[in-house]
């Protein structure tokens, strides 16, 4: 791929994450979270989208993102306050931004009318004068590419000796210092303590002071307290220390320049007034021991890499740091209280260094006109306390590579199982070294398999995050007020499963809003709050992931559902069904309760399709409902589509695998419990309940004559719909985790078979599709079974 194109592809991937971050931030804001961190995060996301769009010349996207960003910036600086209305506009804007990103990605267009309307809505949030000032109405939305602010780059030489003061371009600093913005000129306090060497080199303190006086009015005081009595005084020693106060409209570099020739031979500190001057460890001393001829990089590299040592050396300057170069704030006194909160220098570490730097940035925020009202204690606390929460480093890897790895590990698992089996078949003692080694290998293999699967595991967040928008749109369309509550977004599941969760969840949510919830009027009449609640949750249960969609709506209208099912011939008129069974009728093909096929749920997709798509993932779906209180759909899915816990059984000389998740129990049938219906279809009575008895060998066409029930084992299984059946097999071999190999990809679909696997002995075993087997048997004898069940 063209490198540029591949970077662009990366950008769009990032956009997905950015949009997700943006939306979760906005949702928090909708709930009233006006923490500056939240607003900042949203701003940053939009800003990054815009920045990338700029790099790739995506004009439409830039144009919209710019307006959006500007509004967020107004919030960030406290000029625009968060209200319900503002949050709603921002949320809609986020949807439009997502559309723009999607359009830019696919090269398609966007709804121009919607964009224009949205831009107008965003602009309306900002005071008209302010909007003009920001240039929001200009067509040329993107800021000029490069503006000269009188900025002069600071020149640096690559091989500059480390011990030299940087060759700071004075002009640049002058330009910055003479800028109209800095409000005050705090006074510099220079402490200058010459060493004996300075005098030995024929330098003169007075000359230095005179040099300093050229920078402006200075106030010099001499500390002669160190001068010993005359009889102890050594003519070659240095005892004097000067403190010089200098008006602050000079840069620190200017001041240090005056000491250019003596700085190696004196103790020097240059700080703003009001700060603790620590003359005992002037920062220039730091470079004293570095090799003057080494380049800056080499010198730095030569410095001990031990963080503590490094930081111990830099402590005094960093302690003085936050304010010495901090922006001249309008009222110096104001920054003073903050300093008392500065972390204990003795405990400074990287986190501390960062905290200090963050504080400087914070000061920056504070200095911005009408400063955000709460430049907060919260951030402060976070900066000093929570800094070590360094994010785990991550890398991006092509899914293909992970898949290859997972496949290879799958083969490894099989190979390992085969090896074990061969070894034991060869008659080696279980306690032999080889056997013990193999056991270790097995454990290791399992561990590798788990770890590899964990690579592909992702939180369901990526799917959940798309749902708030869906809920907003559906709610708008059907005129209902809906609050979406999400739980367990961090529940992890294999990526292959995640990708296929979206459709069923989407459909269940639509269904919940469209059918489950009442209109605001109905809700009010029923004594409920006008706003309906839909809860979307994910949780791990029994090695599976369970997704629940729950509404507090009207619940299933059972008489009506039953009536429809009878009318459509789905059940017999006299069928006796439990409430649960009635509720589950909505999953039957061809069932739709919508009076009018609405735009939302009625896209020709019924719950039966949802159910089938979940079953295709090896999942189950069920519903519980309480009239007037609401309904809850639960779907449970395997955590991965790559491996399966299975019961290995044999039937008609074939080895088969039944998914453990379907199995309820196994038993040896007694001949008197088995009854033949219509001379062919068998049912078995298990604790007074009749369930179909399916001879697996016959059902799959391995043989024609059924096995005598008493000579086999009946495995009671339950299908997704809750239908039960007993599978008659010859024997149960054991429980095993198997690697799923798609039958469709390698051969073709076979009814009653879900997939295949390779067993330890190298043979292929078919994995049973329990649902298909149960459904087939039930379809054959629906009435009989019901009558008996009743």
């Amino acid at each position: 791929m063209d490198p540029f194109e591949s970077i662009k592809a990366t950008f769009f991937q990032e956009c997905e994450e950015l949009l997700t971050d943006m939306e979760s931030g906005l949702l928090a804001m909708e709930q009233g979270d006006d923490d500056s961190e939240t607003i900042n995060a949203v701003f940053r996301a939009v800003h990054s989208v815009k920045g990338g769009a700029g790099a790739f010349g995506l004009e439409e996207l830039i144009r919209f993102a710019h307006v959006f960003e500007t509004v967020l910036d107004e919030m960030r600086s406290g000029r625009l306050h968060l209200t319900d209305e503002v949050a709603k506009v921002l949320l809609r804007a986020s949807d439009v931004l997502a559309d723009h990103v999607a359009a830019a990605r696919s090269g398609g267009g966007v709804d121009e009318g919607r964009t224009v309307g949205m831009i107008a809505d965003l602009q309306a949030l900002i005071d008209q004068d302010r909007a003009a000032e920001l240039g929001l109405h200009d067509d040329n939305a993107s800021a000029p590419a490069d503006e000269d602010f009188g900025f002069v780059p600071i020149v640096l030489s690559l091989d500059e000796p480390a011990s030299d003061a940087p060759e700071v371009d004075v002009a640049a600093l002058m330009a910055a210092a003479s800028d109209p913005e800095p409000a005050t000129n705090p006074t510099w306090v220079v402490t200058f303590r010459p060493k004996a060497d300075m005098y030995a080199k024929a330098n003169e303190a007075a000359l230095v002071l005179r040099e300093l006086s050229r920078l402006g009015e200075i106030e010099v005081s001499l500390d002669a307290s160190a001068v010993p009595p005359l009889d102890q005084l050594s003519a070659e020693q240095a005892y004097l220390c000067w403190t010089i106060r200098l008006a602050g409209d000079r840069s620190e570099a200017d001041i240090r320049e005056a000491f250019e020739f003596v700085e190696d031979d004196c103790e020097l500190s240059v700080v703003r007034d009001g700060e603790a001057a620590d003359a005992s460890a002037p920062d220039l001393a730091i470079d004293d021991d570095s090799d003057a001829s080494a380049s800056a990089v080499e010198a730095a590299a030569a410095a001990p890499l031990d963080l503590d040592a490094l930081l111990a050396r830099v402590q005094p300057p960093s302690e003085a740091a936050p304010a010495d170069a901090a922006p001249p704030s309008p009222e110096p006194a104001k920054t003073a209280p903050a300093e008392t909160n500065a972390p204990d220098p003795a405990k400074l570490d990287v986190a501390g260094l960062i905290a200090l730097a963050e504080k400087a940035s914070q000061d920056h925020a504070q200095a911005a006109p009408p400063a955000a009202p709460k430049v907060d204690v919260k951030t402060e606390a976070r900066a000093s306390a929570g800094a070590p929460t360094a994010a785990t480093p991550t890398i991006r890897v092509d899914l293909d590579r992970v898949d290859r790895l997972i496949n290879a590990v799958g083969e490894l698992v099989i190979q390992q199982a085969m090896l074990s089996q061969r070894v034991f078949e060869s008659g080696l003692a279980r306690s032999s070294d080889v056997a013990l080694g193999l056991e270790d290998l097995e454990l290791l293999t399992r561990e590798i398999q788990d770890s590899v699967m964990a690579i592909r595991a992702q939180p369901v967040k990526s799917v959940f995050q798309r749902m708030p928008r869906l809920v907003r749109e559906v709610a708008d369309l059907v005129g209902k007020k809906v609050r979406l509550v999400m739980d367990g977004e961090n529940t992890e599941v294999d990526k292959t499963v995640i990708e296929r969760l979206s459709d069923p969840i989407t459909h269940m949510l639509r269904n919940a809003i469209d059918h489950g919830l009442e209109t605001p009027e109905e809700r009010e009449a029923g004594g409920k709050g006008v706003e309906g609640t839909v809860r979307l949750a994910a949780l791990h249960r029994g090695g599976r992931i369970v997704i629940e969609v729950q509404d507090d709506g009207r619940g299933i209208n059972r008489p009506r559902v039953r009536g429809i099912a009878v009318t459509k011939g789905l059940i017999a008129e006299d069928a006796v069904l439990s409430d649960d069974e009635i509720d589950n009728l909505i999953f039957l093909p061809g069932f739709s309760t919508a009076d009018v096929v609405s735009d939302i749920s009625g896209r020709g997709v019924g719950m039966d399709v949802v159910k089938r798509s979940i079953q295709a993932l090896g999942g189950r779906i069920s519903i519980t409902s309480e009239p007037g209180k609401g309904s809850k759909f639960s779907m449970s899915l395997p955590l991965t589509l790559a491996v399966l816990d299975g019961m290995v059984v044999s039937a008609a000389d074939q080895t088969l695998v039944a998914p453990l998740s379907n199995i309820v129990e196994s038993l040896t049938p007694r001949a008197e419990d088995v009854h033949l219906i219509g001379g062919r279809d068998a049912v078995i009575c298990i604790r007074d309940t009749f369930v179909p008895l399916i001879d697996v060998g016959v059902a799959l066409g391995f043989r024609d004559t059924p096995l005598p029930p008493a000579s086999g084992v009946a495995v009671l299984v339950e299908s997704e719909g809750g239908g039960k059946a007993a599978l008659l097999v010859e024997a149960i071999q054991g429980q095993r985790q198997v690697v799923i190999k798609s039958l469709e990809a390698n051969y073709q679909h076979i009814h009653g078979v879900a997939a295949a696997t390779i067993l330890g002995d190298g043979r292929v075993a078919l994995i049973l599709d329990v649902d298909a087997l149960v459904t087939t048997s039930r379809r054959k004898a629906p009435r009989i079974e019901k009558r008996m069940a009743g």
Partner: protein
Amino acid sequence: MPAPGAIKTLIADDQQSMRSLIRTSLNALGITQTREAADGEDALRALLAQPANLVITDFNMPKLDGLGLLRAIRAHGPISKTAVIMLTGRADRELVQRAVQFGVNNYLVKPFTTQILKEKIEAVFGPLE
């Protein structure tokens, strides 16, 4: 005249795509010794572990923004003389001024071309060979 190949560069940006773009441009200029960091804190750690001649940093980053990174670099003796070029999303006068006060060497407005990047680097180190 510094040899581009000798300029050890650290790219700090929270977006992988931006880092790749900058790296591609730098490589085109012959600056091949590049490392990347995903935020200011990450960058600071990388610098402490192994110094660089040049840091090209985005302004907007989580955890520690570009200004904070600049601050930290300047406050820290062994790495305080690292050249820093700040990337900004828009030509923001106030921002540039703050960066100047913290001792930024140069700034660069997105989107930029390889040529502009070259000029910005040359303004700091002198013409590249």
